[in-house]
Symmetry: C2
Subunit: 228 residues, 2 copies
DNA sequence: TGATGTGAACCCATTCACAGCC
DNA sequence: GGCTGTGAATGGGTTCACATCA
């Protein structure tokens, strides 16, 4: 969406690099040192040509006739994604979702750490989630600047999402992950990604509906939704 | 991937329909009765041609020279997405994420209801989250069949995701929303969508890195603060 | 020999531009 | 005149096929 003049890697490929990353990380743990595009594709659930094309955007790190060195490739992907650093992240909204994110080990395992959680609800302020004390939304800017935060997560209800986004932008944060089902208006240059959990269910249910329309179900069963 | 039952809507368009749906729903609440593709596009953060093309897949529900009737369009999108029905959903994994999902109002607001949560951890079984009592994973099939569930959510740690997927498939569930950062192997015909929260952060941090690259800030200082 | 890296072909999605209807 | 609906053009991403090189 934002136009980087030097955006080398296509967006679709960027979205797959972390998948390869995770697999390579597992492989290192198992002591595997070499891997072919064919094998990596199998593990990632994509095809080999795509793997090779994706990796070629990083540079020519493979060896023809042999494959890729697992550790070296791992390092190169990490470097490209900026994950040889640890990114401080701040969460806006300490409700169910905000708490779950703060407690989610997968986030810290992959190079991020939650340095702050803010909310406007007085009853939540002072509580500790994921090892971080919830502070008042007014402190957002102070926290962001003192910790050098450049990534913010919006985990508020939809009606407060825009407000949260504006506060994040004011605090100098340039990349926002938005979990609220709302369209955010932000200044140009700010990166926004939206994740809408219920939307994923809605899309899935569409395909489920297509599935049962086709009637080709073998023994699946009677799974028919009840009417509302 | 699968077949073409009939006039199938392109995947990209299906992903935007719920966005329009939500906006139209809000508009109904505000008493708005008519809307143009231009206005809807503005609210959805896309361009007008895309809105018209997307809506044209549903049928010709607009009026030239006028626009779309909000309520009628709302109904048509709901029907196409299968949301005039209520879908029973089962969650595998009662950890932080599973609990957050069960408690997440947005899910029930949009036509889904959680009819079961299962886990293997004895200490979690019997606890109540989101108004549903956590039951043992062994009961999955029984719950799924008695409630007519066709959509399952995997909210387990990555190492248990494949196992969870297999249990869901055995229980006759044909659509899976996977929150575990793992690639699932499932039989043909099973719909799987993956949502990886940490992956979203990794992608975002890549663009954040690009952002500061183009700006020349090596330091994590504040970047383009803009007035709200 | 065997697997990478990559132009070229292909396919899907987006955007354009305008015909058609209100 | 205004706005929808849609063929046509454009662009991005995926797949193919093979030249290339350890």
């Amino acid at each position: 969406m934002t136009d980087s003049p030097r955006r080398r890697i296509p967006e679709a490929a960027v979205g797959r690099l972390p998948v390869y990353l995770r697999i390579l990380s597992d492989l290192v743990g198992e002591g595997t040192t070499q891997i072919s595009s064919e094998q990596l594709a199998e593990l990632a659930g994509v095809n080999a040509a795509k793997v090779r094309k994706d990796l070629s955007y990083l540079g020519t790190y493979g060896t023809r006739g042999v494959g890729y060195d697992v550790q070296y490739l791992l390092y190169q992907i990490q470097r490209e994604l900026g994950l040889n650093q640890s990114w401080p992240v701040i969460i806006v909204g300490a409700g169910n979702l905000g708490q779950a994110l703060a407690n989610y080990a997968g986030i810290t395992e992959r190079g991020f750490h939650i340095v702050g959680i803010v909310d406007k609800d007085e009853s939540k302020i002072g509580t500790v989630v994921g090892g971080v004390r919830v502070r008042h939304a007014d402190d957002l800017q102070q926290i962001a600047q003192s910790k050098g935060v450049s990534i913010g997560i919006i985990a508020t209800p939809a009606p407060h999402a825009q407000e949260a986004a504006e506060a994040l932008v004011r605090a100098g944060i340039g990349s926002i992950l938005n979990f609220a089902p709302a369209v955010l208006a932000v200044p140009k240059g700010v990166n926004v990604r939206k994740v809408d959990l219920a939307l994923e269910l809605q899309i899935l249910s569409y395909y489920e509906q297509c599935r049962s329309d086709t009637r080709g179900d073998s023994q699946g069963g009677q799974s028919t939704p009840v009417s509302a």
